[in-house]
């Protein structure tokens, strides 16, 4: 379909090693910081302060300030946790899986997608940490010799989750930092200020582009990609085990691991689009983040969105097919119960509206893609809310049924993490190269070694 008028290039013609280097590094080193950066950072930082206020108040009062109750012990906190972790997954997918599949178009978006992963995982971590109520004792989750002589319960998916998420955060950081080293060397060599040379120089660790170093570097990067690929699949699988291993109707299903992984990629690509579209406009990066990238991401969203839709159908089908009345009640309750509005909005956002992406006219329209990406972000948040809250609020015994409504502090913590995410992202855009400079050089035509001439 995309080939009817020729596929748009992954990098605009006419660029050389020098222009690519200068254009990307100038954003950090030379260009005047756009006024929009200050406005955006100020707004994001204000929301980060709201997060700090919310968490401080939480520590003072306890988690009773949230709307969580019996039977709805998990609500906004775990919804937000799963939402943020899921968003992070697109970064790893772009950087690792697309690298292994030799998709060169990933090159101009992998750096900031990886940064997005890192910041999303940081936001995700806040929720379970503070949901413990006593975050200063969170190290109890880790196995360490202690005077109480107790050890974590390794049969519990919640302990698996601690290992999965902390491994994921560590490996994402390593992957991102290793990718940055050669670009930090470029910034060190091009910085006009002494402070810049020292700071970027320390971070670059003396990288000098030696061919022996490059060889090991490429090996390490490829191995990291190979390790991160099963890791990213395992992380959301383990997150889904938090639910699927329980016996709660609506959670106890085997479709959860693949459906969670597809949902994670779906929401992650939506977030990459949400971020990439304004960034390429503000920093005039249309040469590097071309229509090809936006269209490819739209196609990935369409495919993963269909897998998610299949997941919804399977959930409902298995609930009926199991002939278990408690299981059978769950989809009915979702469709017609007190949270029906959330369920129908979710279907609208995640299944109905994204079908527009079948149309080429939609995939090539930047504003429409931006709006759809926002809608999918909302839809994926609603999906987790529906899974968690509607399953918990009507369990086996009507005597233990309940209702959940979010409090001010639920909202302020959630919005606060969005602020933290954006604040970190603004700092990243200002101080580090948002596009991998050395990988952009490799996809230029002049990078090819002419074997004939040797």
């Amino acid at each position: 379909m995309a080939n009817s008028q020729g596929t748009p290039p992954v990098i605009a013609p006419g660029h050389t090693f020098g222009t690519v280097t200068d254009k990307i590094s100038a954003i950090v080193l030379a260009r005047k910081t756009p006024i929009g950066w200050y406005a955006g950072f100020a707004a994001a930082f204000a929301l980060t302060l709201l997060l700090l206020v919310s968490l401080t108040y939480l520590v003072l009062k306890g988690i009773g300030i949230w709307g969580n109750n019996e039977p709805i012990g998990w609500a906004f906190d775990i919804t937000n946790f799963v939402w943020w972790i899921g968003i992070g997954h697109a970064g790893t997918l772009i950087s690792a899986i697309l690298l292994l599949l030799r998709q060169t178009w990933r090159t101009s978006i992998n750096r900031f997608a990886e940064a997005m992963t890192l910041f999303a995982v940081s936001c995700a971590g806040i929720f379970p940490l503070f949901h413990t109520g006593r975050p200063w004792l969170a190290y109890w989750l880790l196995p360490y010799p202690n005077t109480m002589n107790v050890w974590p319960q390794f049969r519990s998916p919640l302990v698996w989750d601690v290992f999965a998420v902390s491994t994921y955060a560590t490996v994402s950081l390593l992957f991102w930092f290793v990718g940055l080293i050669p670009d930090l060397a470029t910034l060190r060599d091009r910085s006009q200020s002494k402070a810049g040379r020292i700071i970027y120089g320390m971070l670059a660790m003396g990288w000098r582009g030696s061919s022996r170093h490059w060889h090991r570097y490429e090996t390490a990067y490829l191995l990291l990609a190979g390790l991160a690929t099963p890791l990213v699949v395992s992380v959301h699988t383990v997150v889904s085990f938090d639910f699927a291993v329980s016996i709660m109707p609506g959670w106890h299903t085997t479709i959860f691991p693949p459906y969670f992984v597809a949902g994670a990629i779906y929401s992650g690509f939506a977030m990459v689009l949400t971020l990439a579209i304004p960034i390429r406009a503000v920093y005039q990066l249309e040469d590097f983040i071309t229509m090809r990238h936006l269209q490819n991401m739209a196609k990935v969203m369409l495919v993963t969105g269909l897998i998610v839709a299949y997941g919804y159908m399977t959930e409902a089908f298995i609930a009926w097919y199991s002939a278990d009345k408690y299981e059978g009640f769950v989809p009915l309750n979702r469709l017609t119960g007190p949270y029906a509005l959330a369920y129908w909005s979710l279907i609208l956002c995640n299944v109905a509206i994204p079908q527009l992406l079948w149309l080429k006219r939609v995939r090539t329209s930047v504003p429409v893609l931006f709006v759809i990406s926002l809608i999918v972000n909302v839809g994926m948040w609603l999906e987790r809310f529906v899974i968690i809250v509607t399953s918990l609020h009507r369990d086996f015994l009507p005597s233990s049924w309940g209702m959940y409504s979010a409090t001010f502090w639920d909202w302020s913590t959630y919005i606060g993490t969005i602020g933290l995410f954006l604040a970190l992202l603004f700092l990243f855009l200002r101080f580090l190269p948002m596009i991998s400079i050395f990988e952009m050089r490799t996809i230029l035509p002049e990078a090819r070694v002419d074997e004939e001439a040797i």
């Binding site: 060599d189 120089g201 490059w214 395992s234 990988e439 050089r441 040797i454």
Partner: protein
Amino acid sequence: MATSPAVYGVLAEFEDPTSLVSAAHQAHEAGYRRMDAYSPFPIEELHEAIGAHHTRLPLIVLIGGLCGCIGGFALQYWASTIAYPINVAGKPLNSWPAFIPVTFECTILVAALSAVLGMLALNGLPMPYHPVFNVPRFALASRNRFFLCIEAKDPQFDLESTRRFLETLNPREVTTVAD
């Protein structure tokens, strides 16, 4: 070995990757061994052209991964059966299928750490100072220029003749690198 100790080597600058790879080939054919090539991005052919060997990194990562795997499982086995045995729903104390997710995560974690730390260690990084940085134009090695450095440690190295040899490879410029 008519070199003064203050010389690290001779550095030739090239404008494109093909000339660098071809220069590296010719230097290797001329018998030079202690040399290195510098480029702003990885060039697959370059590593072989200077006659470098395979890297041991994959082996390090394999060993790291196995250590993580065995260590992760051993930790869970020891904690669940010896240090803190609890009967959960009548399951055996060594309920190994439940230990697989954490074993897997530990495998990946240690393998990834070995990949990064192993790569840095084999490359001898961090190393903030290196003689090639003494050449001002070397700053372009991280932008758009390609360099070949024949080091004074090479048995064939002779400041004058090595310089003359590099001049024949059509470089943009040849510089002596102070140590």
